[in-house]
């Protein structure tokens, strides 16, 4: 079960960690192939899964059925532009989460905002599962 060092694994990790555009699996495959021409789709997905399991990357479900991958694991938010379609990282200068008004002040036209929390609900917290 131990993790083995392979050219493919290292390439996938490096591509995701260097990317600043939240690429999807296809884009990652293409970039990895620039270095290791023979990698297959399955290998890319398997390695992305491993990296996510190890907490080295995050899988983003922005919209639609195609996942995007994020190499930045520090807590941060995202902005999806309806104009150019890019997904960008929002890094608060001050500790704490960004707010709608704070972004408006920096020039963003925020039209929607969704927030999702993950964890244990009050019932599960005091009950069975960990």
């Amino acid at each position: 079960m131990s993790r083995r060092r392979t050219l493919q694994f290292d390439a996938v990790r490096d591509v995701v960690q260097r990317a600043c555009d939240h690429p999807n699996a296809d884009q990652i495959l293409a970039r990895v192939r620039e270095r290791v021409a023979s990698v297959s789709v399955g290998t890319v997905y398997r390695n992305l899964e491993k990296l996510a399991a190890d907490g080295e990357i995050h899988i983003l479900q922005i919209h639609g059925r195609q996942a995007r991958y994020d190499g930045m694991i520090a807590a941060h938010d995202h902005f999806v532009c309806d104009g150019c379609g890019t997904v960008s990282d929002l890094l608060p200068a001050q500790p704490g989460r960004l707010t709608h008004p704070a972004l408006a002040e920096v020039g963003y036209d925020i039209r929607a905002h969704t927030q999702t929390f993950f964890g244990l609900c009050p019932e599960c917290k005091t009950g069975a599962r960990a």
Copy 2:
């Protein structure tokens, strides 16, 4: 292009708007069939799409590739329990968005939090597309 009133459309809308568990398409199909036994998968998806286009419901991409549907359109956040797996609405009593500490105080054990903003970035705001 005008919208026609059909049994199927009304049933889909009613099922989603009455649901408080953020059902997926399969669950909605099952519930709609309790009233209109003959509805097909395609019809359900087409009507969900229309409702979302009209802003009557929201499509949620919580995790994985299976969408969930939300009949509550007022601004609110979501909590996904790692224990029981339920997705619940978080409705702030006071205007404004819920925060991590606020939820902790009410008994939630928050382990992750993601925030996504949609709109126009500063460049697109002052540029071409509306």
